[in-house]
Symmetry: C2
Subunit: 409 residues, 2 copies
């Protein structure tokens, strides 16, 4: 007898028929002899609708009240799911974040999980019930309702899978797995059968949606396999799992493009020890998230520092950079807006050479100019002009033959 955690996203519970379909999946797993936990998101576009309601009332609603508002979406879904299972003649109980003792810190709208009281869930298992948990939400120590950030029902599911020691966490969604790249841009994109946590983390941070980074981190930390699959078919999806040696045979697993970026270049910074640390501490204090940091030193010994930010942080970052320029006595702040970033990811890069050259070659052949390059152990990113983004992605996808089934998979 096993234990299954199944997470259903908004599109998978968007109406009564889909809720019944998800209920049938859970019942099937239950009657096969498993204890079953379902983690459910808000129905369809509910969260967006609630946000619009708030926007009608206030330009900057208090975050505590946003959490009070948004958590209702999942509460509706879990109760309806419990009704669907009951109507099909099986036992179920819906539980809010507070009721499963999902304790978080007190940071509204992006709280972090601190503890889960798995006993309550185990008691319900003993009663023979399918347990339906509201994703995305928790409570802090003083009983205030918190949320874990947009898309964080995945995180709830993986945290539950970890604490209940589930072997697999199934993520049901409206696509049938993780693709080598965005199929809306490259129609030859291919579904990946198996990918490592690290690769998936890189792809998620590069804008390949599907899963929440923190959820993948939970999976990696507690070694829970994640099965991303379609709620509309029984086809096997993509397994996100720990890295095994044979994965290294695949040099590049996926490619991604992110378009909503701006690049800042801080020109002529005095290159003294600790200056970068000071600079980015300043930026972090303003809650601006930066990526793709590059620092070079010019002939006169001054540093030039470049990084990217998402558009949502652009206005704030401009203000911060002006402060920084004065404080650190830099010559100039250049902002290139917009820019795009095209990337390839693969654990095989660790043991294979020539990946960077192949990527730059593909971009050159496609007449794409590269503004900047950043790399990690398993990733290469190029900052380019957004008008080149799609053809760049297609060129890279073709160069690494991502449309072809890997030989050893």
């Amino acid at each position: 007898m096993g234990l299954m955690v199944m997470k259903f996203g908004g599109t998978s519970v968007a109406d009564a028929e889909r809720i019944r379909r998800a209920a049938r999946r859970a019942i099937k797993a239950k009657t096969a002899g498993n204890d079953v936990v379902m983690v459910v998101s808000a129905m369809g576009k509910t969260t967006d609708k609630l946000i619009s309601l708030a926007e009608e009332i206030s330009e900057s609603p208090p975050q505590r009240e946003m959490d009070m508002l948004l958590t209702t979406g999942e509460q509706v879904s879990i109760s309806l799911m419990a009704m669907a299972i009951d109507a099909a003649g099986h036992q179920a109980i819906s539980l809010t974040g507070g009721q499963i003792g999902l304790l978080t810190d007190a940071v509204h709208m992006k709280a972090r999980i601190q503890k889960i009281d798995a006993d309550r869930i185990r008691q319900e298992f003993k009663q023979g019930r399918i347990v339906i948990v509201a994703g995305f939400q928790g409570v802090d120590e003083s009983g205030e309702i918190t949320t874990l950030g947009r898309g964080a029902s995945d995180t709830t599911a993986l945290a539950l899978a970890a604490v209940l020691k589930a072997k697999v966490c199934e993520i049901y969604t409206d696509v049938d797995g993780i693709y080598t790249t965005d199929p809306r841009i490259e129609e030859k994109a291919r579904k990946i059968d198996k990918i490592s946590y690290d690769e998936m983390l890189e792809l998620a941070s590069l804008g390949a949606g599907v899963m929440h980074s923190r959820a993948i981190e939970f999976g990696k930390k507690y070694n829970v396999e994640i099965h991303v699959r379609s709620s509309f078919t029984d086809t096997k999806g993509t397994i996100i799992t720990k890295e095994v040696e044979q994965m290294e045979d695949i040099v590049v697993s996926g490619a991604a493009v992110k378009k909503d970026l701006a690049q800042f270049i801080l020109v002529g910074l005095p290159n003294t020890p600790g200056i970068a640390a000071n600079l980015f501490a300043h930026v972090a204090r303003h809650d601006v998230v930066v990526d793709d940091i590059i620092q070079t030193v010019d002939e006169s010994g001054n540093a030039n520092t470049s990084f990217t930010v998402e558009h949502s942080d652009l206005a704030e970052c401009k203000l911060v950079m002006e402060e920084v320029r004065k404080e650190f006595n830099a010559k100039e702040v250049v902002c290139i807006d917009p820019v795009a970033k095209v990337s390839v990811v693969g654990v095989g890069m660790r043991s294979h050479t020539g990946v960077a050259q192949k990527m730059f070659g593909a971009l050159a052949q496609a007449q794409v100019n590269i503004n900047a390059i950043t790399t990690s152990e398993i990733k290469i990113s190029c900052i380019i002009d957004p008008s080149d983004a799609n053809k760049a992605l297609q060129a890279i996808h073709a160069a690494f033959e991502l449309d072809k089934e890997p030989k050893d998979a």
Copy 2:
């Protein structure tokens, strides 16, 4: 410095503009130096929409899950109300039933309040905040979410007013007060300035909507004045208050009609001691609510017992009556369906004679046949044919000159 409890019904918070209007009222009371508690219902038709959702999923959803579902409606309203007050530059906090420690018994969908933790609310007052409480909901001892029954946000408001020792509880609604009768049937219906708790309780049980009986009982028990008024104007509404002597000068305060009834007559019951108690204990076990009980004894010494039920209980009651007929050896069960009930209410009946005669005379003149008559100390009801209901009400309203301002009011 006083303390105000203001309750806003669904129509008073149906959209962003109305929420802002309600927020302004609370802010006005707050800046005038009062501590303010708002009790808020679900927006507009939200509860009906949630019930429809549930009906799409299940014919008989578990009541626990209905409570989980329906309580989201009020949670949405309170968060939006807090945002509206914040946007207007004042301090507010929204609190769920669980967060104010509104403890109930464990009877889902019609739970009764057992305790309220007023300390939490007083702490928020000390922070200078307007406290916004979700109506209609509570939690039981084990943290399960419960509701107090349809329309029970009034009850939440009065219970809070009682526990916080408020002098007045304002009930904001879409009408400007309590009327002598239903203005949709009798256009000469007049707004009542002041009415006693007992009269209001009778009118509420007779189908004169506006307020929840249990809320009025709270008001009566803890001597909290209830001010029923329009959320769209500043006009004074109707004060529901304790009986004062001068009220007795008004013989009849209001008239009401209830149409969705059926009458059962159990013919030829052996008239032994305790038989009525046994009979109605049997009915109560099936959760059928009966009213207008009349018992007579015929020439052969057998009892004939008659009562009314609402249509929603009709099918269940038919089954129960057939059981009862066999068990108690009665001759026959007669069901008259539909019937209507027309009533007059007034504390003045206690000290005035001729009220019944005037009512029966008015009905006779209007050619309305009376099936049955029941009375209480402050009420007279006649069971009639539903096709006569409106003209019966109009005749009574005219006979007691309810359209005219009472002399001593």
